[in-house]
């Protein structure tokens, strides 16, 4: 089987006056693993339901390959789907569950049993054909759901938080398996999750949604290193935020007044701020904890008092309170030997220029 491209074109959907999805456009490449990531209520499930055909978009169109499926009934879309709680048919055995889509398509019996056997071996469930779903563990049910969604060889697979009900260890194992399966089959996957780690691990690209709007779509590294908005910066990974006001705008030089916490001078216009910043504009600076460096000697930089030191095996995290009251996390590699800064120490830190993201605070 081969993946097909999925094109979401200016999709809109509202329930009453409340928009669930707003003018949303994403082009998903054939064979791509795309995650829809966002907090609950961000519209990611609505979006998935529109692709599956259970919700009708108010505006826009959905294309799969060169076929416009916006008005096509769910049973004629040929899209596999793994539901949040698997939605296995409780009155059918494993084999009957997996055979269901083939029977609906009127395949001959011999072909059905062959395909069912293949699908079950794909998810390593041979020997459980005659069991009922209630007799399976959560992980096994999950595999049956995947087998059932793949057995009719759809070009696109939708997954709605499929691992949410599993415990952490099993979840990590299934993440790897699903990814491996997706790559070996070359199928296009649209994967809904609110777990950013899961999205970072599995996805080719991630679409971050917020209140029905698309905040950013890009590779995990793009989102992590170059978040387009403060929301994305906050949602993906750990991030320190500092609010301030633009003071000086040289040719390329920028000074941000952080009030009582001091000032930060940036020698060049940061990447993330697409519209040029204005004098006096409120901005939010974002820096990853691991990009900051502690500096005991340099007192020209902003400084603070260490509130706590958290040891986490490979790294230390320092919680530092600035003069203005903000708490900043600084993560360093654990070092052996040498004396670490202690709680209560006054300490400065260095921020590499390219580690700072500047977001205009229009929304505040």
């Amino acid at each position: 089987m081969h993946g097909a491209s999925v094109s979401l074109r200016e999709l809109g959907k509202s329930y009453g006056p409340v928009p669930a999805v707003e003018r949303l456009a994403i082009d998903i490449r054939p064979g791509e693993f795309l995650s829809l990531l966002g907090p609950s209520g961000s519209g990611k499930t609505t979006l998935l339901m529109m692709v599956a055909g259970f919700e009708r978009p108010d505006t826009g169109a959905i294309w799969i390959g060169d076929r416009n499926i916006t008005q096509v009934a769910p049973n004629r879309r040929d899209i596999g789907m793994v539901f949040q709680r698997y939605a296995l048919f409780p009155h059918m055995t494993v084999a009957e569950n997996v055979a269901f889509p083939l029977r609906m398509r009127g395949f001959p019996k011999t072909r059905i049993s062959q395909s069912v056997a293949e699908a079950l071996s794909l998810v390593q469930l041979e020997g459980l054909e005659k069991r009922l779903p209630a007799q399976l563990s959560g992980g096994q049910q999950q595999r049956v759901a995947v087998a059932r969604a793949l057995v009719f060889e759809p070009a696109v697979l939708l997954m709605d938080e499929p691992l949410g009900a599993l415990d952490k260890k099993l979840r990590e194992q299934m993440q790897i398996e699903i990814k491996r399966l997706q790559q070996s089959l070359g199928i296009t996957v649209i994967y809904v999750t609110h777990d950013q780690e899961e999205a970072l691990t599995m996805s080719d690209r991630i679409a971050v949604l917020r209140d029905g709007y698309l905040e950013q779509v890009g590779s995990p590294a793009d989102l992590y290193d170059a978040p387009a908005t403060a929301f994305v910066a906050d949602f993906i990974g750990k991030m320190n935020f500092l609010d301030g006001i633009c003071r000086k705008l040289g040719a390329d030089c920028l000074e941000v007044d952080l009030g009582r916490s001091g000032t930060i001078i940036l020698p060049q216009q940061p990447v993330a701020s697409a519209p040029p910043l204005q004098q006096g504009q409120r901005v939010r600076l974002a820096v990853r904890p691991e990009r900051m460096k502690l500096d005991r000697h340099d007192d020209r930089k902003i400084s603070g008092v260490i509130e706590a030191v958290i040891f986490a095996g490979a790294s230390h995290t320092f919680l530092i309170r600035l003069a203005g009251g903000e708490i900043i996390h600084v993560q360093t590699q654990a070092t052996h030997g040498g004396s670490l800064p202690q709680e209560g120490d006054r300490i400065g830190f260095v921020i590499p220029d390219d580690a700072v993201h500047v977001f205009p605070q229009a929304e505040c």
Partner: protein, 293 residues
């Protein structure tokens, strides 16, 4: 304790860790006592009388077999109960289905439409049918005014009237068990079926309907058993021409004072009911072995 009881009831399991034998017996004892005094004893007495009054004899049973009227009444009772059950199922299932899919104010409205009749006395509802169906009742008046009939139709005291009124009175007993099962079937199952290539009717026939069968079985069984022994409605709406077993028995006990014969009649009805229930349960054994959810 309440949740533990609920869980036990639902699972049908008897885990000795939850309650000891004494505690369990203590919990059931009051109800058991009431049943013994108010149900088992009188019924037993009635059945006993049918064989041992005055001496050991089968003469009362002989009368039932010899007199075609009594077999006719038994047959008519079974027939009416069956037709009522089928009609109640056909009318009740869609209502239960709609109720299970509604939410908020609309669901409450429909639930009220189902429950309020249940809380109204069957006597009142049967009289209502008399008002509607009698010679100068609403139906005949309307038909006459519309010029469809010249003289009033005989609607009351017919088998049709009995079936109509009984179906109406017993409908909630069909709707409620089906509704409670349907509501517990996750919405995702029908969606999954649709996603996997089933049309809407196929998804219903292959997923929702089979999963709702335990509720349908409970509803039909309850309706059928209630219909077999139903007294008020057939007595009022059916009249002497549509005699059913319960009306016949009432005649024997209250008017003719022939208690032994009434006992024989009730034994026959009880036996036929039990037989049908056993056969029905055997036919429905397909619903075993899976749990919903």
């Amino acid at each position: 304790m309440w949740t533990a009881l609920q869980r036990r009831f639902r699972d049908g399991s008897s885990s000795p860790r939850e309650y000891g034998t004494a505690m369990s017996l203590g919990l059931v004892a009051p109800l058991l006592l009431l049943l013994l005094i108010a149900f088992v004893y009188p019924v037993g007495r009635l059945l006993w009388n049918s064989i041992f009054a005055p001496d050991a004899t089968l003469v009362h049973y002989g009368r039932i077999i010899e007199e075609p009227l009594y077999l006719l009444v038994l047959w008519r009772t079974l027939e009416i109960a069956f037709v009522v059950t089928v009609l109640a199922f056909l009318l009740g299932y869609p209502v239960a289905y709609a109720m299970a899919r509604m939410s908020g104010r609309r669901a409450m409205l429909v639930a009220a439409c189902v429950l309020v009749p249940l809380w109204t006395s069957a006597l009142v509802r049967s009289y209502a049918w008399i008002v509607i169906l009698q010679r100068n009742g609403i139906v005949n008046d309307l038909l006459e005014e519309a010029g469809l009939i010249e003289t009033p139709l005989r609607l009351l005291y017919t088998k049709g009237a009995v079936i109509l009124a009984m179906t109406h009175v017993l409908l909630p007993f069909m709707i409620l068990p089906i509704y409670s099962i349907l509501r517990n079937i996750p919405d995702e199952l029908a969606k999954a079926a649709r996603n996997l290539g089933a049309s809407a009717p196929q998804a219903f026939l292959r997923i929702t309907l089979p999963l709702s069968l335990p509720g349908a079985a409970a509803g039909t069984l309850m309706t059928f058993i209630l219909a077999l022994g139903f007294y008020i409605t057939p007595a009022l709406v059916g009249g002497p021409r549509t005699l059913m077993m319960s009306t016949l028995m009432a005649q024997q006990t209250t008017e003719l004072l022939d208690w032994p014969f009434a006992g024989a009649l009730s034994a026959v009805l009880l036996a036929s009911t039990l037989l049908l229930v056993v056969l029905y349960r055997r036919a429905l054994s397909f619903n075993k072995g899976f749990k919903i959810g």
